[in-house]
Symmetry: C2
Subunit: 338 residues, 2 copies
DNA sequence: TTGTAGGCGTTATCAT
DNA sequence: ATGATAACGCCTACAA
């Protein structure tokens, strides 16, 4: 076997088939412009040679990649895994390929990731949340790259987005909690810096408190990374307070899972001794024991819708819309009236 | 604002800086070959113009992308999310970028995905498991693309790989189960077709049974997709048997989570009425109530090691090694002696 | 319907 | 140390 791999090119196929490279290219991209006879012949020799078009060359010549990029905080949180899976599936049915990049919740990495994806020639971009340096938006607009924001929608901004109102959603949950008689609430939040979803959720609790005549500034808040372990630690810390909270609300289900685990470990019964709530409604939420009261977010729908909208923007050269999806309160065992 | 985005190229930078394109290119790739003075000047104008090298053009000219591709069954199973995260982190520290592609456990899609990634010019490839049509391997070898297989190692094949012995691991767990007195075992397996990890695990149970003088052919097996819901259904079906199994072993933790949920729903106490075991030791396993007895697989280590090895293969042009990682039995509440 | 040839943005080889 | 210039593999007017 030869040591230097000999990869066939368009030219090789053309020579072998006895046609021009243009014809071979047409067989690949615009079949209708080629006679059935040559098409068959060319396809056969493509097959025989095991030819695959070189993507980079194609991208350069066509100025188009049929590729869409996505930048997410992490693949390890099920919400993004799910949403992206749906995003990808929808892209696929429209002939697009997905390029993912994750930044481990380090928003300062995002700018370079965007440049990298743009340098690769992505036709469009999916970004999470709204909050980022304005230069990024102007950069994208200057280069004419369509993009859509997901997992959030804000009334006071107008970039195309598909998501939900994190603040209103959490407010709804807090309203419920308060209506059940709870007055001592503790809140475990994700890191807020650079994460407007986390900020919105906290704000939702505060708004609810205020609406009920309570002082939002008295809300105990612990801010920590979105991990089970850190959720557990935060919960433990929070229960040192005197008086103890009767309910600990968490910024997402992962934190809540940690809280529930730690509570059991501390010998606390949920929800008798303390109620716990989450946010997202990942699969885990209904598996936990007790099952977790949370906000159900339609991650799959969001991913699929984002893909649809982005493709429309790309193909119709439209400027994109803002779509707000409904979330719902998922009342389960972990929350009880006091 | 102009409607046609004007993206600066190497040429633009060169013109603006009053040097040749070659010099600009050197400033980007081989700084040492350029005088400090011009370097500074060029870098400044690069900055000023907001220039970013075109990846596709670069790939074409350099025949190198610093990109590595990975094809996984799904992003939704935490084991791959974790492993890949580690894989990516390691790649990053060596200057490589990751391109992921998932196929929803449809192995027949893999071949095209491989071609796609190869067409994009990936410098190397991470694949899961060993089982695939031999043409794929010959294709990869013909094109001289380094690849490494993960999540499995087999004694009787010699492609480079980093993983563990799925069969031996599950045998260890089954041995434990049998040593605790269980004789009526039920097994819920993932879909075996095209998935050698799932097959190996089932085989491990069978081998253990045989070693204990039991007939492997009497082992009740339900084969189903790796989902919580299907795990629940399979568990319910399995408990219809007469006599009922005293332990239900599952091909992974996700199935086991479904089984535990369904068991509770059926009013069965675990492990008093029935024991349940999993495989993988994802975070969920220790969060479940009762906590899940399972096989701990070092997914992060596996991902990191795979990246190391693959990079070595690429940079040293070496042929790669086979590394078998240790797994361990994680004994938790869900398994009890009968 | 098919062929010719210019161009896409870099890198890399030669000169200078 | 720097500059010309030929690849790299493909697409796409434009011609025939």
């Amino acid at each position: 076997m030869s040591n230097s791999p000999n990869i066939p090119t368009l030219f090789d196929v053309a020579r072998e088939a006895g046609v021009s490279t243009a014809t071979v290219s047409r067989c690949l991209n615009e079949k209708q412009k080629v006679s059935q006879k040559t098409l068959d012949h060319v396809m056969k020799t493509i097959e025989a040679l095991g030819y695959t078009p070189n993507f980079n060359a194609r991208a350069m010549a066509a100025k188009r990649t049929n590729t869409i990029g996505a930048i997410i905080p992490t693949m390890e949180n099920a919400i993004f895994a799910r949403g992206l899976q749906a995003f990808q599936e929808t892209l696929l049915t429209h002939g697009y390929t997905l390029l993912v990049s994750s930044n481990a919740y380090k928003p300062q990495l995002e700018e370079e990731q965007i440049r990298t994806l743009v340098a690769r020639g992505v036709d469009g971009l999916l970004l999470i949340g709204y909050e980022r340096p304005p230069e990024i938006y102007s950069y994208l607009e200057r280069r004419g790259i369509p993009f859509i924001l997901a997992w959030i929608t804000l009334a006071d901004q107008d970039h195309p987005s598909v998501g939900f109102d994190n603040c209103a959603a959490m407010r709804m949950l807090a309203d419920k909690v308060l209506s059940m008689g709870h007055r001592k609430i503790g809140y475990i939040s994700g890191i807020i810096e650079g994460n407007d979803r986390a900020r919105g959720r906290l704000e939702g609790v505060r708004e609810s408190l205020a609406a009920h005549g309570l002082d939002p500034d008295n809300l105990p808040v612990i801010e920590t990374a979105y991990e089970v372990e850190t959720g557990a630690q935060a919960f433990e810390a929070m229960m040192q307070a005197d008086p103890k909270p009767t309910v600990v609300m968490c910024g997402n289900d992962v934190l809540a899972a940690g809280a529930i685990g730690k509570a059991k470990q501390m010998g606390l019964r949920i929800p008798d001794d303390v109620s716990i709530t989450g946010f997202d409604d990942i699969e885990l939420a209904s598996i936990l024991d007790p099952s977790l009261t949370t906000i159900h977010v339609p991650h799959r729908l969001m991913g699929g819708t984002a893909a649809q909208e982005l493709i429309t923007m790309i193909e119709e050269q439209s400027s994109g819309v803002r779509r707000t999806l409904d979330v719902r309160l998922e009342l389960r065992e972990s929350l009880q009236a006091v």
